[in-house]
Symmetry: none
Subunit: 200 residues, 4 copies
DNA sequence: CATGAATGAGTTTTCATTCAT
DNA sequence: CATGAATGAAAACTCATTCAT
């Protein structure tokens, strides 16, 4: 029975979690109220606070789980292929599939609490370092006057962030990331070329 | 006599304006309330609405005045030099001097009213086109498989936007833009190089 | 247990409702603020909006409940007697008992939202038609040059409206409608007489 | 020069007065703000309070002047004809020409201050008494069981008030009073008939 | 006398959080 | 554990009136 209770608890928590995720994804983390989430999830308003003591806890949980999932996918991708451009392409495809989520995250990141922001940025940083490693082993070079790999990685993620933020401005149907994917990959490849070519 | 009154009015308006600007810069356009601004400015809450009928009018005034000033500076820069990299460098210096403002703008742009957003994006677009023109005349090329100038411009402003958004993450003293200036300029120059070299 | 909660809720709602009703009756629907009602009812300002999402919802609830009650009474009266004058007399007595309410309603009707106004006027129209039917069957006549029944009904309700609006002007104690009841009934009867007499 | 000043003062006052009147007539006495009147009149907001210490003073002045004018017209009408029905018809025509004003007055009377209300009702009462006198001399009768003249007069003004209040409900073009004029006159005449016929 | 900037109490509504049931 | 009623501190905006110029 203790188990049953636990299961029930876990179930309720899951429902709230999934509902919140869907709503955040549709309407952003800021503009959805706890009351709305509870109503949509079919539980009492207070129940939400049993499982997530604070609104922020809920947001953090949703964001964190999504990023964990992303991390797993990325780890998988990296095992499959050591070709950086292919990897980057796959990553963009992944983001593009979850674009609604990542666009909200990119837009609203500055309004998260410092702790959450740091957490998210930390996760992001790990991915960046993984990309950096692959990049370096795929395109080995260390010429002084060439482009630094760190800059290339930063450009990749910077531009991805930019496209996500601007999704609304380019208010067309479909994925914005998908639309700019080739352009971004080309540029990255070009930049990488400026390093590689200088290797003896 | 009428002048004295006008001066007094202009003075009060200016106080509210400057107070609001300072607070917006520090804490963002969204999270500062009209009541706080009025209190900080030392006027009655209602007085604020004498000078700015709507909260949005105040925000818009602050944003607009700053962007107008920027436009003038940019026009000046363009007359001084036709060297794109120099121009871009100067532009980054300017933004870096007003970094608090542009960082808030970059972060909160998605939450502005559509009208304001369009206004700001329009202004931004003008600058981008000016940059594109200069770039094209400075580095003439039209090779099919090279990097497109449009992409280079987009990367320049995209990365600038990214650095501004991430200012808080790199929570060090001083200007974030200044710190990344050289890296950004180098990358841009490298990208431009990939176009130029292919010209016969 | 759930019942206790529900009872408590119903109790709070009732307190707000009754307090509002009393205050509306005394001071009109327009000039009483939600904050005043909450204070007088001894609940937090926000609590009022838990039970009545909008000020208008509260007003509408008060008005509607009173009019529904009226409708039931009128239906009852009509079953009891088919004598129009008796019926009209009873109706006036009913209005006179709830005079504070109907006086405010008459005075402030033009300032209600279109939806509420239509709702109230619609209810009123039903009663008028019921009266018209009874009148026609009680005093059957259709002479061309006699007074039209529609005019008689309109005069009845028109004068009632007038007395209610003028209640404050005749600022004496007690019911204004009661004071003019006999006079109004006499006139109506006289008017009806001008129709009836012309029947062959 | 003192004269010139006085003239100027009187002129300014007149402008404010006329502007206010027009606006009250169009939009009601309640919903027009002093700032709007001043703006529309082309004077400073404060100027309005030089001539009318209180918003209420302005409203009272406008209402009073209109009613004075009405009084003069009515006095004129009464000299022209001693036929009550003709007189009543002319009166309705007069009201119908100024319907916007009288409709606003009827609707908003309950929201005026007690002093103003009394003043207006007092004026109205004078007219009613004049009508009563004419009526009595035109249709001399004093039968006990007939309709009382006082009631007939009250019905006349009561119904007029009712039609004015309901002007918005019958939201058709043109004058509502004009539309109901004949019906009202007929009813009044019928009622008077019930007195007259009983005279030997 | 005319001006118009300044006032500040007042309005309805929202929402994360608490706690008795 | 689940409930959901209650809280109260926000928020932006209005407007008759005052008073120094």
């Amino acid at each position: 029975m203790a188990t049953k209770r636990k299961q029930q608890k876990a179930f309720t928590r899951r429902i709230i979690f999934e509902t919140a995720k869907e709503m955040f994804l549709q309407r952003g983390f800021i503009s959805v109220s706890t009351a709305e989430i509870a109503r949509e999830a079919g539980v009492a308003h207070g129940t939400l606070f049993v499982h997530f003591p604070t609104r922020e806890d809920l947001v953090l949980d949703v964001v964190d789980s999504e990023m964990e999932q992303a991390q797993r996918r990325i780890d998988g991708m990296m095992e499959e292929s050591a070709d950086f451009i292919k990897l980057a392409g796959k990553y963009l495809e992944f983001v593009s599939e979850h674009e609604a989520f990542y666009a909200q995250l990119a837009k609203e990141l500055p309004f998260f609490s410092p702790e959450m922001r740091d957490k998210i940025i930390f996760r992001q940083a790990i991915v960046q370092m993984q990309f950096l490693d692959i990049m370096k082993s795929d395109f080995p070079c260390d010429r002084k006057n060439g482009t630094r790999f760190e800059d290339v990685v930063r450009h990749f993620f910077g531009m991805l962030h930019y496209y996500l933020c601007m999704k609304d401005a380019y208010n067309q149907e479909g994925s914005t990331v998908a639309r700019f994917k080739d352009s971004l990959l080309n540029t990255i490849q070009t930049l990488l070329g400026t390093c590689k070519r200088d290797q003896p």
